[in-house]
Assembly symmetry: C2
Homo-oligomer: 328 residues x 2
């Protein structure tokens, strides 16, 4: 195994500690009065950073709170204004889309919170005197999801905007320590599915965030084509697509009994084998984070099997070299 692989493996293996430290760092970030009155949360971020918004949307669907919108774009929706808490999340702090969203959020006098590993985003947050938490950067944004997620969740939970109980947050960090058990299951899943040319990751509403995350990890770490399906929605369209033509494997994440029934039904009507993964954990949040770490190790192992570096992302690099002109 290459040193790229080792670097990434170590990062995912350290999520429990990163998560705990990030939660603590955010709890020390002071906020002006008024943040708990936000009527909506808008999370701006791209890739792994934007995924934080997807996760929070899953959480408020389950636990309650205010609605969470994710913006994976350089523009805020027209309706965003002073009643909104706009959270800007960027691993590098140099993501152009997120920087533009910060400036637009400030211009619209929205409440603002920044989570970043450094860069211009933190600098501009400081200049604008808005609360910010700096996270510890791992080797890549996707491998730093634990830091980004808990630094974002902490104040939202504190202000009651995402009503997840503290003990569920604690449990969700604990499950990130189950590295050996998760790796064992990831190896089994790889043996069962690892020759596919296309991966379809499935989760059940309102856990859409997990299948999206898995799809992105498969692309970035393992360089394999991947897509995300959500149940029950995919019963109404995706299942008609001829997956048997493209040598696809399906991995389905199960978080409750209804989801389990839906995945079983799916396996009876779809055109490719379905490999089910029962998410481990007592609380919904713990299950979500367990699944996220599973996906990390699974896609690292898949990268190794496919003989690609899980760290290098040549096409994203090529995109970045053309980046500055895009949004001008």
């Amino acid at each position: 195994m290459s040193s790229d692989f080792d670097v990434m493996w170590k990062a995912y293996s350290s999520w429990r500690d990163y998560a705990a430290n990030s939660l603590k760092a955010a709890s020390n970030t002071s906020f002006p009065i008024g943040y708990s009155r936000a009527k909506r949360v808008v999370v701006c971020g791209m890739g792994g950073s934007g995924g934080v918004g997807d996760y929070l949307a899953s959480l408020v669907a389950v636990y309650g709170g205010v609605p969470v919108h994710t913006v994976k774009s350089h523009r805020l929706p027209a309706w965003v204004g002073k009643d909104d808490l706009v959270v800007l999340v960027s691993f590098s702090g140099e993501t152009l889309e997120t920087l533009y969203c910060l400036r637009e959020a400030l211009a619209r006098r929205a409440l603002v919170y920044v989570v970043a590993g450094g860069g211009r985003l933190l600098k501009e947050a400081e200049e604008a005197n808005v609360p910010a938490t700096q996270i510890v950067r791992g080797p890549a944004a996707r491998a730093s999801f634990a830091q980004l997620f808990y630094a974002t969740l902490e104040p939202l939970a504190r202000f009651g905007l995402v009503r997840v109980p503290k003990e569920h947050i604690v449990e969700s960090i604990d499950v990130l320590g189950q590295v050996d058990g998760i790796v064992k299951l990831a190896r089994e899943a790889l043996t069962a599915t690892g020759n596919a040319k296309l991966y379809t990751f499935i989760s059940c509403s309102p856990f859409e965030s997990l299948a999206i995350r898995a799809k992105n990890e498969a692309c970035e770490n393992a360089k394999v084509s991947a897509m995300a399906w959500f149940l029950p929605e995919s019963f109404h369209n995706d299942i008609e697509g001829s997956l048997e033509d493209v040598e696809a494997s399906i991995i389905a994440f199960i978080h409750d009994n209804t989801c389990s029934r839906m995945v079983k039904t799916l396996s009876e009507v779809v055109g490719a084998p379905v490999y089910p993964i029962e998410l481990n954990g007592r609380s919904p949040l713990a299950k979500l984070m367990w699944g996220t770490l599973f996906v990390g190790f699974f896609t690292l192992l898949l990268a190794d099997k496919r003989g690609v570096s899980p760290l290098e992302t040549a096409r994203i690099k090529a995109f970045r070299s053309r980046y500055a002109q895009l949004f001008s």
Copy 2:
């Protein structure tokens, strides 16, 4: 060409008339006082019906209004309550997920509006004395999108919840009459891309709705595997997936200059040929509907080329036979 094909072709060809009639029907639906005070719109629906919510979310991002959430599930998010206008959309009026959402919306004392072709949904709306518009049913939900969409949009625009100007609505219905021009372009796109085993449809934020719609139409009408990508987000993950392994074609919908630059950049860094489609129309809404009709004809032609019926959906039928037990 089969009679299934003819039936579907005729339905899409009639969208302009269906849209105009549906808009008129909805304008005759009377609403109690208070609907214009809704703070959010939550659209519940599955498949083509749920797509209506995706479209409205695109519109409020561009035009302003209140935030629109789409729920493609049998459960409402925990945060939905009396400040929300919950719109239930179902072609058949028998969609179980949507029925459950109606009951939950009523129990939470949300504002409610129903758009359906008949069935239990209309019946329960009548019993609960909530406003409803009955749409004319075409041969399938997806081929009745014009009816579903305009019946939903009309009151939301009337109440200022989706701030699309009346003249844009009128223009968007007009472009649905451009059948010959759209079919010509769809045939050209088919010639350029029609041997793919996987289709990737791309649109730019905030027009995510169009790529999702195209993906679903490809699955349902043409029975081909398909996925949806959104720019700029896909630059940060999807492009690393090895599309060259699965004989993929990419079709990208362009709605403005930034989108055009992004699609050009994508074609330089991704692993499959990109076929660009410039959306026709002056207003954002007209472009969106033009693209939607393009997708309809393109996927009908693709079904014909692949030798499959665009009307029959055997797997969805198999799912429906197992449906009633799923959500109990």
